[in-house]
């Protein structure tokens, strides 16, 4: 049992926070939504080695674990900044773990250098009602048909990971986003994160971009990636919620009413104490899930539990912090509103609390 971070892990957190702080001081606004993400921040994340954190040394990475990915995600969350970090690095980690050497050489060094973005279009990660794309093998050619929705940075990425059906098996394929037969329709999301509805129409697929033989199912790899995406989101949420609360305790300690700082009123302090308790709970369940993932466990329950907490506390904390700020909290010249938007997006992305409660309930009934 050990809940501590190593000195190296603490250094990594400090490095990430420093990059974010320097960038936000330079640009005044880390990212203004005219572009999908800040290219200067992305470049700096590459220069400092942060983008290669979970990639093997031989491809230019620093070969650390999923925990380090989560620590970086939490730091990004504390600045409420939109980047393709989680999608790119978790998919890179999957390629690093499961793919052929050729594919690794083709993709990973570019990711580490910040020259390649990867995106994840997995239907199973959302509660979208559309059906999963299908893969057909005809005339010695593989073609993909169907749609996948809510794919962040799909158009900006070089490869999109798509889950599809082939002979009633789940296959994961990397689709070159520049292939003919792909149509991107941009969605306008609540945070402004660039997401796309992606249509595949007879899109030709190259077998070199598979994780496994055409005939085998990729269920396990799918679970591997989903666990990491969901827990990556929970880590990002820790940063969002911690900072919302920090802004709130600091603002209420300065704002006076009836000649006293409002933070001295018990009603205010108790509301913030409840936020503190919520964050402590999300933190421990996320830590447990990270630990199970690193130990290569299936971790279905642990991951569902973490996302349920994530959804619940994002909702509670963002409204508590907005409320305790009063008017300034909704002023777009002050940063809190961004945390509010992200909290709502995180709450409902990759399965809401109800979605995961249902999953967990089924696991309980079946075990």
């Amino acid at each position: 049992m050990d809940f501590s971070l190593s000195a190296q892990q603490k250094d990594l957190v400090n490095l990430t926070l420093k990059v974010l702080k320097d960038q936000s001081e330079k640009a005044n606004d880390l990212h203004n939504l005219d572009t999908a993400f800040s290219s200067s921040l992305w470049k700096e994340l590459a220069n400092t080695g942060i983008l290669g954190v979970n990639i093997d040394n031989e491809y230019g990475g620093s070969q650390l674990s999923f925990l380090e990915t989560c620590l970086i995600a939490e730091s990004l969350g504390s600045f409420a900044v939109t980047t393709p970090f989680l999608y790119t690095t978790i998919l890179a980690d999957a390629i690093n773990t499961f793919s052929s050497k050729e594919l690794k050489l083709k993709i990973l060094p570019k990711v580490v250098k910040g020259q390649s973005i990867l995106s994840v279009g997995i239907k199973e990660l959302s509660d979208d009602f559309s059906s999963i794309p299908t893969l057909d093998f005809q005339n010695k050619e593989l073609t993909l048909n169907g749609t996948t929705n809510y794919v962040a940075f799909a158009k900006e990425s070089d490869f999109i990971l798509v889950s599809c059906k082939y002979n009633n098996k789940i296959k994961l394929i990397l689709v070159n986003s520049k292939s003919p037969g792909i149509k991107f329709s941009k969605l306008v999301t609540t945070t402004g994160e660039y997401q796309y509805h992606v249509d595949f129409s007879n899109t030709k697929i190259n077998q070199d971009l598979f994780f496994s033989k055409l005939s085998s199912s990729d269920d396990k790899i799918l679970n591997w990636i989903m666990n990491r995406m969901i827990i990556g989101i929970c880590s990002f949420a820790l940063g969002i919620n911690e900072t919302s609360l920090k802004l709130t305790t600091s603002y209420t300690s300065q704002r006076n009413a009836f000649k006293k700082p409002i933070a001295s009123f018990q009603a205010v302090r108790h509301r913030t104490a409840d936020c503190y308790i919520d964050i402590a709970c999300l933190r421990v369940v996320t830590e447990q899930a990270i630990s199970s993932i690193i130990l290569n466990k299936e971790a279905k329950e642990q991951v569902a539990i973490a996302k349920i907490w994530c959804g619940d506390i994002c909702h509670r904390i963002s409204y508590a912090c907005q409320h305790l700020h009063g008017g300034i909290g909704i002023d777009k010249d002050y940063s809190l509103y961004k945390y509010n938007l992200w909290a709502k997006q995180l709450e409902l992305s990759f399965g809401s609390s109800k979605f995961h409660l249902r999953k967990l309930g089924k696991l309980i009934a079946e075990n």
Binding site: M1, D2, F3, S4, L5, L67, L245, T249, T252, S253, K260, P261, A263, S264, Q266, R269, H270, T272, A273, D274, Y276, I277, A280, C281, V284, V285, E287, Q288, I290, S291, S292, L295, E301, Q302, A304, I305, I308, W309, L357, R358, L360, G361, K362, I364, A365
Partner: protein, 394 residues
């Protein structure tokens, strides 16, 4: 980071689970179901506690110089979970809270007399803090002790002195400086329960747990029973309360009842011929309880781990206390919904489900939101120690 017990710790847990399973005989369960001996004190309880002492478990995390095994606080935590799971009313306050404080601060004679008996499971100590007009504001307590001829003369009354009906000593908070009406004038005296002038009146509570009002009428206690220094009792009280908070919200009993309800729902057929557990709403209730209890378990593990590093943060002890006590209430409601009306049948009733445990648990659970330091004060502590917000009057 590794959120998992070692193989050795898992083995210890298995060993303890078997040990307590064997210890909880049917006769003992009957004794513990009877209202007068529910929180211990019956002949089988006494015999079992001695057995636990003889088998070396009470001293698990105690220093070797007292005959303990010097196990880590994580091992001790595993022990706590397994005892709580078994339902044995183990006197944690004596063995893990007051006991170690006595070992650290008492007069040598008192130590020699009492510590070996604690480790053998031969004595139990009750705690006398609250009074009818001093609860949350404990530092305003009025029971006084006056020093006379190498003795203390004690007068006053205490409320909620649980276990006093069978305990051997009372760990009593008294005012020794009558000029100071705040925490600076308090001391701790370990009062032998057979002293002349002590009388005890039972208070029967909602959860069928007996507690007591205790009265001290010119009780004379030798000076050797003063623990620590005169007027320095407040530090002993607060450090003891911090230790107590962790055992109050242990998740083991909830985990046990959750797994029992899950099994019951799997075996129970509804009027439409399906198993109850196939219902969506039942799965949802069970998943909610599982989600909440997992967080509680991990908060407790993290604290036990922090204690092994000597890094227990005051705010974090309060987090577990507030969250755990409020979640128990919610969880028992969700589980009772799964059982439906049947959950209202007491252990005394025919047709009761799971021994009527939920019917008892919901009644007991209301004590925890105010007992052991009321949750409003815990939230004040969190905002102050965890969030650095200003400290002011309430």
């Amino acid at each position: 980071m590794l959120v998992e017990f070692s193989k050795k710790q898992i083995k210890l847990r298995e060993e303890l689970r078997e040990y307590f399973f064997a210890l909880m005989t049917d006769d003992l369960k009957v004794e513990l179901n009877s209202e007068s001996t529910k929180s211990g004190g019956g002949p089988l309880f006494k015999k079992t506690l001695k057995q636990i002492g003889e088998d070396g478990w009470i001293g698990l995390s105690w220093p070797k110089k007292y005959g303990g095994k010097e196990a880590t606080l994580l091992d001790q935590y595993i022990f706590t979970e397994e005892v709580m799971r078994s339902g044995f009313p183990y006197p944690f306050l004596t063995t893990d809270s007051v006991g170690p404080t006595i070992a650290e601060h008492a007069n040598q004679k008192v130590k020699d007399e009492i510590i070996p008996k604690i480790l053998k499971g031969e004595i139990v100590i009750a705690i006398g803090y609250s009074e009818s007009e001093a609860g949350t504001d404990l530092a305003s307590l009025k029971t006084k002790a006056i020093y006379e001829n190498n003795n203390w003369l004690i007068n006053g009354q205490k409320m909620w002195t649980s276990l006093a009906e069978y305990s051997d000593y009372i760990w009593l908070a008294v005012r020794t400086n009558l000029d100071s009406m705040d925490h600076k004038g308090l001391s701790i005296i370990l009062v032998p329960n057979n002293s002349k002038g002590i009388s005890i009146t039972p208070i029967n509570t909602l959860g069928d747990v007996r507690t007591n009002a205790t009265f001290y009428d010119n009780v004379v206690v030798s000076n050797k029973f003063l623990i620590g220094k005169k007027n320095k009792g407040w530090e002993l009280i607060t450090s003891q309360l911090n230790r107590e908070r962790l055992s109050l919200v242990n998740n083991a009993p909830l985990e046990k009842i959750l797994s029992d309800v899950i099994n019951w729902a799997k075996e129970t057929t509804t009027d439409n011929g399906n198993k109850l557990i196939e219902e969506d709403w039942v799965q949802n209730n069970l998943a909610q309880v599982q989600t909440g209890t997992e967080a509680l378990k991990l908060l407790c593990w993290k604290q036990a781990w922090a204690m092994t590093k000597n890094e227990l943060n005051m705010a974090d002890a309060s987090v577990a206390k507030v969250y755990g006590s409020e979640f128990f209430i919610e969880a028992y409601r969700l589980l009772m919904e799964v059982l439906g009306e049947r959950s209202l049948l007491s252990h005394k009733s025919q047709q009761n489900i799971l021994g009527g445990r939920l019917e008892m648990l919901y009644r007991v659970s209301s004590i925890l939101t105010f007992g052991g330091g009321t949750n409003e004060i815990q939230r004040d502590i969190i905002s102050m120690a965890g969030l650095s917000m200003p400290r002011t009057e309430r």
